[in-house]
Amino acid sequence: MESDCGGREIRALIVDDSAVMRMIHEDMLGTVGVKKKEVAQNGKEAIDIILHNSPKTFDLILMDLDMPIMNGIEATRALRSMGVQSKIAGVSGRSSVEAQEFMDAGLDYYQQKPLTIAKLSQIIHDIHQFHI
């Protein structure tokens, strides 16, 4: 159930197979005011976490592209077909061709690696706006 928008805390899921990236993204989220964060090491783990909670649990999913077992494109497609409406921000070092495929899978945002505080701030700001 959604509580009142103004005071609602944003909850984020970081999906990346690199421990370095997860640490940086976790801290960046903390810096822009997101205290509730969870992590997954690949697309399949991300889906398991969401299924275990509920499709509405996460406001934002930071999705890496290249991951073993299930990559970002497959995971994004799967999540959208499950009816997940969380904002999904794809983060990747790939070329614009692959970025397009990633976007087509159902992303709301795409950012070339590395993610910056400014870009993340903007995404979080959008999410707050959307809820107000």
């Binding site: 690199s18 940086i24 801290d27 810096t31 290249d66 070092g93 590395p114 505080i117």
Partner: protein
Amino acid sequence: MDAIVHLRKQLVDYTASLFQEGFLDDQFNQLQQLQDESNPEFVVEVVTLFFEDAERLLNELATSLAQQSIDFKRVDAHVHQLKGSSSSIGAQRVHTVCIAFRNYCEQQNVEGCLKSLQLVKEEYSLVKNKLETLFKMEQQLLGAGGSVSM
């Protein structure tokens, strides 16, 4: 007081030189921005994690390239990881070598890959040294009673 001023200048100058020489880029600044009172060791922690990760990847790369029949996809996957993590901490020169390395993987060029591995090991060694020196300087400054926040 003089000691602090001197140590601080030393730190600032050294950091500037790392940027000028291309060892670090703006992403390193991003990391420093993420460090605050609630997370005073953030940069050291992330960089340390990067060192561990990089060393693991370099070992894997050496092993993969020593095989009779090289699995270029596997090599490429490792280089991609190293490229990603080096760019995320601002280790520009390591990142640049990784880009060339990936091209050689795509071409399945063994010699190019071996050369790239050598280069990336060198660049990694250099940046590791530089960063460890940087952290030592920070420790000295803190030890003398100064603060490292710019």
